[in-house]
């Protein structure tokens, strides 16, 4: 994928930067947005050309979403001017932005689940046939538009029956249906599987080729490099770099985002594997068929697979949140098949769940309360009457310092922290002590580069100090860079198991897709 970003887009000025663009489609000048004492966007200039995919990258909290909300009329700036096609405009509301042809495709879909795709798209602007809605015309209009940009969507499907990839295409179609010339997509691939993401980028290229302007907000550097023509990097509300993707690379982008060198490829020194810390023997459960799996001390076993093929169930069976219907689960030699979560923790389990605000944290509880969970009664498995306050205070202080959790107030609700910081709470709590077994499910999903790097290093540290790690991740690069062995789940079965040194990407892809091979 890297390197394919150049030479695809229509005529653009020869050099990066802003000076030589004749009349930019969008020109934002000196945009400032403050929230209390925090300046989210600090005097930012941004120019967008027609027929371009413009990448906007930065860590969480760098101001990229806020900047785009200003353009889309969701947020009013405290200072700055915006021109569209050279004319200065005031964008005071979302509908004002829509009138100007600016549309933001939202992360949470705003569609009516019980209506069909065609009905959703034409809602409020239905073609009429006298007194009645002309359903045929509505359907035709949707099909025409979808065909033009290769957005494969069944116009008669009910929205509630669609998967996330299709829902996103419907959202994009709706924006186009309303005449959007400037499309903003905020982290559009966060919820997509790799093939779905690939399909999305194909559509975006078509749209750009047809003269639309696309802003792609993301912190996934590879996809930005592969699809954007120009890239603007934000850090702490300011522009730190304006680059052409053909002339830069992931390392340079990461440095501009984080402000220092980031090791994208991590050191994985060899370790000697020891005893078995997790053994699954013929485990069956809803969504899992006869799983045999072993994780040994000192190794990371990566689980790859397309979402929904049993990864979540695998993690839950190990953590004790899903009871197996057959087979045995052993943690560090102890049979925990029917043990509670608390007993498994006492047996040596640490667990980073995939959804931090559903299970990993209590959003309304304080950072402090979130950090002591599991150890609030002293050592794991102990049963005391009073909280160990001094021990808890020392522990919280140690975790905040060593895992660099940025919060001014340990009594503040965890919900007020940024995604990366919130994940640091979960990771700190689970990795601070030398548990023999670590189950990490999607440990870096939705968090920025620096936090991801930190989490990956923490997992490698655990490996180096003799823990066994079961890593379940939708990020194939992550699985490949961290794991000693890679197993692929498909349809609730382990379809392959390969030492990381012998992994063949094509083979892996086929396994993930469930194409029966020679195994």
């Amino acid at each position: 994928m890297p390197g394919s970003g150049a030479g695809r887009s229509p005529a653009l000025p020869s050099a990066a930067g802003t000076a030589d663009v004749a009349v930019p489609v969008v020109a934002m000048r000196g945009i400032v947005k403050r929230y209390g004492r925090l300046t989210a966007v600090d005097d930012v200039d941004l120019e967008l050309a027609g027929s371009e995919i413009h990448g906007l990258v930065g860590e969480n909290g760098a101001g990229k979403t806020t900047l785009m909300q200003v353009l889309a009329g969701v947020t009013l700036p405290d200072a700055g001017r915006i021109s569209i096609d050279g004319r200065e405009v005031a964008i005071g509301s979302v509908s004002a932005a829509n009138t100007l042809g600016i549309s933001m495709v939202h992360q949470h879909f705003m569609l009516v689940p019980s209506l069909t795709v065609a009905e959703n798209l034409t809602l409020g602007q239905e073609p009429r046939n006298g007194f009645l809605v002309d359903r045929a015309a509505a359907r035709r209009a949707v099909v025409d538009l979808a065909d033009r940009f290769g957005l494969g969507v069944d116009p008669d499907a009910r929205v509630r029956d669609l998967g996330v990839g299709a829902l996103q295409r419907v959202e994009i179609l709706r924006a186009l249906f309303r005449g959007a010339a400037i499309l903003i997509l905020d982290e559009p691939t966060a919820i997509l599987s790799p093939p779905e993401a690939e399909g999305l980028f194909r559509v975006l290229r078509e749209l750009a080729a047809a003269g639309r302007t696309i802003v792609l907000v993301s912190h996934r550097l590879e996809e930005i490099l592969a699809s954007a023509t120009r890239i603007t990097v934000l850090r702490d509300g300011r522009v730190t770099a304006r680059l052409r993707s053909a002339e830069t690379n992931a390392a340079e982008l990461a440095r501009a985002m984080v402000g220092r060198d980031v090791a994208l490829a991590l050191d994985r020194p060899p370790t000697t594997t020891g005893r078995s810390v997790l053994t699954l023997d013929g485990v069956r459960a809803p969504g899992l068929h006869r799983i045999d799996l072993e994780v040994r001390a000192g190794e990371i076993v990566g689980v790859a697979g397309v979402a929904g093929n049993g990864q979540a169930e695998l993690a839950e069976v190990v953590a004790g949140l899903l009871r197996p219907t057959a087979g045995t689960v052993r943690i560090d030699g102890r049979d925990v098949t029917n043990a509670t979560t608390a007993e498994r923790r006492a047996a040596g389990l640490a667990y980073i769940p995939d959804d931090r605000f559903r299970r990993g944290l209590a959003g309304d509880a304080s950072v402090r309360d979130n950090l002591i969970m599991g150890r609030h009664a002293g050592k794991a498995g102990a049963r005391r009457v009073l909280l160990d306050r001094e021990g808890a205070a020392r522990r919280v202080e140690r975790l905040v310092a060593s895992f660099r959790i940025r919060t001014a107030d340990l009594g503040a609700p965890a919900r007020t922290l940024s995604g990366g910081n919130a994940q640091r709470i979960v990771v700190a709590r689970e990795l601070a002590d030398p548990h023999p077994l670590v189950v990490a499910a999607q440990p870096t999903r939705g968090i920025d580069v620096a936090a991801s790097e930190f989490v990956r290093r923490a997992l490698l540290d655990r490996r180096a100090t003799g823990s066994g790690v079961l890593l379940i991740s939708a990020d194939l690069d992550e699985v490949r860079s961290l794991s000693d062995r890679i197993v692929v789940l498909h349809g609730g079965r382990i379809v392959s198991e390969t030492p990381a040194s012998q992994v063949d990407l094509v083979r892996l892809g086929l396994d993930m897709a469930g194409v029966a091979g020679g195994r």
């Binding site: 209390g36 979560t341 608390a342 559903r358 509880a365 309360d369 969970m373 009457v385 107030d409």
Partner: protein
């Protein structure tokens, strides 16, 4: 910025009360009276004389204690709407126990009767808790329905098997022995039960903050999946909190019997609406133990003051009901108020 959050915690109920009182004032004006006179009479009726203050605290005690019970269940995310039934159970069983006990040295009979009342309240709450944990039957509904069962069962008990034959036509138990009464405080009509208001909320607040069980209960309330993933037995936590909640409601009932009426009388708990006022107090205080008791005393003062207002002016007692109802309405939209306040606090302090 902890100060901001605490300020918001107090500001929400304060705003609710202020808006409700303002609405009451409008109604008084529309009815052709002076709100100043009406509220003046109300304040005098509540706290104007030592005797009025005593009346306010007598009324507030069961309200605040049931409120505390409701608040503790709230902390674990459990909705105990059965305060009334549990209070009836505590009052009736407390009265029966006090009558059934042999003569004992002074505080012992009282303590045993109180223990019986607490146990009765806890038992009345145990069934719903178990049904919710084992079968998923919402406690919200079962506790509420058991209120009617408790009220009618208690009515039957004091109408037939345990009726006080000396009491003429009144459905009530016999008077409990004087040795089991809660002692009066000085020369006032106040009894020792009021001391609970100064003690219980602090014990509750301490237990929630400092004990393992309290921490686990708060985490279950904040996010049950998180607590279970952390190794907390959420079912046990919820059942335990509901038992404590029922015991506190039972305590409110037995304290009312031993301290004020000295017997169980049919309708003793329901006619005054103690448990519902307690529920309002807990909701108003967002389940903070100390603020719940403050809110309970406030509601007691409002109700006692309302009686004084009715005597002194032509404003009917229903005004108090309107103000209470308006408080609930405002509290119901508190999420919005709170968000607005936090946004401002954040804006000033840079959250």
């Amino acid at each position: 910025m902890p100060f901001g959050r605490i300020a918001v915690g107090v500001a929400v109920p304060a705003i609710a009360i202020a808006l409700a009182l303002a609405l009451g004032a409008v109604i008084v004006i529309v009815a052709g009276d002076s709100p100043l006179d009406a509220y003046g009479a109300l304040v005098h009726g509540a706290v104007g004389t030592p005797s009025n203050i005593a009346a306010t605290f007598i009324r507030s005690t069961p309200i605040a204690i049931t409120g505390l019970g409701v608040a503790i269940a709230f902390k674990g995310g459990a909705f105990n709407l059965g305060g009334e039934g549990q209070m009836i159970a505590g009052a009736l069983v407390g009265a029966v126990a006090a009558n059934a006990l042999p003569a004992l040295p002074a505080p012992l009979g009282t303590l045993l009767a109180i223990a019986a009342g607490c146990l009765a309240g806890a038992l009345w709450a145990f069934g719903p808790a178990l049904l919710e944990i084992r079968l998923g039957v919402p406690m919200l509904i079962t506790t509420l329905l058991l209120n009617y069962v408790a009220a009618l069962l208690a009515a039957w008990v004091v109408t037939y098997p345990l009726r006080d034959l000396a009491g003429g036509g009144v459905a009530q138990t016999a008077m409990v022995p004087e040795a089991t009464w809660l002692p009066a405080i000085g020369a006032t009509r106040l009894n020792a039960g009021v001391v609970l208001l100064a003690v219980l909320p602090f014990i509750a607040a301490w237990a929630l903050r400092r004990t393992v069980a309290g921490y686990e209960l708060r985490m279950v309330g904040a996010n049950r999946e998180f607590a279970e993933y952390g190794g907390v037995d959420a079912a046990r936590s919820i059942v335990g909190a509901t038992l404590v909640s029922g015991a506190l409601c039972g305590l409110a009932g037995v304290v009312l019997v031993l301290g004020v009426n000295h017997r169980y009388i049919d309708g003793l708990v329901t006619s005054a609406g103690f448990a519902w006022s307690g529920f309002i107090a807990a909701v108003l205080a967002l389940a903070s133990p100390i603020l719940t008791v403050v809110a309970g005393v406030f509601l007691g003062a409002l109700q006692v003051g309302g009686l004084g207002m009715t005597r002194a002016t032509s404003v009917p007692l229903q005004l108090v009901d309107i103000v209470q109802a308006a408080i609930i309405l405002v509290v119901a939209v508190r999420a919005g108020i709170q968000a607005a306040l936090l946004k401002r606090a954040g804006g000033r302090g840079g959250a």
